[in-house]
Amino acid sequence: MTSHNQALQTQSALISAIYNQNNAHSESPGLMAYQRSLAANAKRALAISYPTISQLVGDGFSALSHEFLQDYPLTAGDWGEWGSELPLWLAGKTALTNYPYLSDCAQLDWFCHQSERAANVALDLESLSLLAEQDASQLEVVLASGVFLLASSHPVVDIWQAHQSSQQNDEATPALFAAAAQSIAAQKSQFALIWRPQWKAQVRVIDETEFLWLQQLLAKQPLTTALDNMSHTNFNFETWLPKALQAGLFCGIKPAN
């Protein structure tokens, strides 16, 4: 396509004029319509992927999405895939230093978004028989769809739960906000587990031991290796397994790759 110089230049000039909205008032009505559409689409997409950040930032979210779009234009074509850089981008914003938890809250939102788009994993209870039939060094635990882990120096799960509750107009919302505020004041840190038992991503606080265990599984360590790596902790596989099964976190066993 490199020989199509005129069209390349014309199209690049138009898309640049639409993305560069600084002089919007001096532009034509048609160009302004495209600029408004781009800004509205970006804000809508970011609010879907980052519901907690959208609520936390409130009226400033339009400006935030606009600024982020200038730094990270849409490159995948699908708005659902746009915005992975936001957590790191927020961490670099000196104007937001009074809200040090914002970046980790964004990371949690993004993991939930990714979890709900991840490939489906079916529960395979029959595969449990492999535990009795094969050497555990040759086996791997299969987790549910879209499992992510987040170690945060902030109470990200408390903040996330309060804002989720607020979205659903839950009666518990004031109490959850009060608890989140207390956790922030106490500088509480949290390990978060994100997983998708069915269609909606779930989030809960886990302890450091389970965090380390799940890290092994996400790294696709063979079962024996994963258990050996947990030997310095009080982790108990027999206790963990039924709870993980009930929570829809455990989906089966498979031969290790």
């Binding site: 390349l8 199209q11 138009l14 898309i15 048609g30 302004m32 781009l38 970006a42 234009p73 991840a118």
Partner: protein, 300 residues
């Protein structure tokens, strides 16, 4: 050249949006096909994918893409093409379509004109000039897409809010030539014709729509879109926001199109300010009634 059609030939569909997922599955209506925006189902898994699987068991599916940008001079990246192909394999659609526009390009640096973030997607359907160069580009892109998805593509005419410089032919000549050269077919959006005529301050919008339709060889049209949109705001162009019932002028244009093209699969689109499922499907019923009236008269 006119196709001889019977009313029973025509397929009538509606666009499916998130708010209507449950209604479409639990309250089926007399609809021949459901059209979805392909990108809404590009995720590897999750609820949307499960819904599409269920919908595909009850209705024929039409995949309407908005990402490809068939007139993009810098070409179409492989990733969206691969995702579209996977979705086609999964849903076995009746129709697959995208637009005669560009979406992929490169941003210019303000100071030195260097490219950055290449390629960038416009997040919208941007108009192309209609000339020999853009025709070559679009033919090449359409052929490449058709080769990749191993089936014929429908290409939709656009509602445009600016007029790119450099056109040397009319839109309808461009699209006709495109269909003949690339062996694709046209998805004719009648509201887009109305919007463009309105934004051009036409004194005879329906006359313009009719003139456009009459220039298209009937065998080239594979689908018709019907929609309504908000009135233009002062100082701004009319935007094709698919937020309203199909207006009378579009129904009139549909009658003209049916007389010229025969029984072409027809879709009612409604994407924003969504009505109830009943209101949407009533619009489809109206399209069917008009088609049966026009086509039965045509056959007689």
């Amino acid at each position: 050249m006119k196709k001889q059609s019977t009313s029973s030939d025509i397929l009538i569909g509606v666009g499916l949006r998130h708010n209507h997922y449950e209604d479409a599955l639990t309250r089926p209506k007399a609809i021949d096909f459901i059209e979805v925006h392909a990108e809404n189902f590009f995720a590897e898994g999750g609820a949307a994918k499960a819904v599409l699987d269920q919908v595909a068991k009850q209705y024929a599916i039409s995949l309407h893409a908005t990402t490809l940008g068939l007139g993009s001079a810098r070409g179409i990246p492989k990733q969206p093409l691969q995702k579209l192909r996977q979705l086609i394999e999964q849903s076995q659609p009746l129709l697959v379509s995208d637009h005669a526009c560009f979406t992929w390009s490169s941003l210019q640096q303000d100071s030195n004109n260097e490219e950055r973030f290449s390629p960038v997607h416009a997040g919208d359907l941007l108009p192309i000039a209609f000339n020999a160069e853009t025709l070559d580009i679009t033919v090449e892109n359409v052929e490449s897409v058709q080769q990749h998805i191993a089936r014929q593509l429908l290409v939709e005419n656009l509602s445009a809010y600016i007029t790119p410089e450099g056109s040397t032919m009319s839109e309808v000549s461009f699209l006709t030539e495109l269909c003949l050269r690339a062996n694709c077919r046209l998805l004719l959006d009648i509201n887009n014709l109305v919007v463009n005529a309105s934004n051009a301050n036409s004194a005879d919008i329906l006359g313009d729509v009719s003139g456009y339709i009459q220039q298209i060889p009937p065998q080239l049209v594979g689908e018709i879109h019907l929609a309504g949109c908000s009135p233009a705001q002062p100082g701004a162009p009319m935007i094709d926001d698919h937020s309203q019932p199909v207006p009378d002028i579009v129904w009139e244009g549909y009658r003209i199109a049916l007389k010229h093209f025969g029984a072409v699969p027809t879709l009612v689109e409604w994407d924003t300010a969504l009505p109830s499922w009943e209101v949407l499907t009533d619009e489809a019923a109206k399209a069917r009634a008009i088609a049966e009236e026009v086509l039965s008269r045509d056959v007689a």
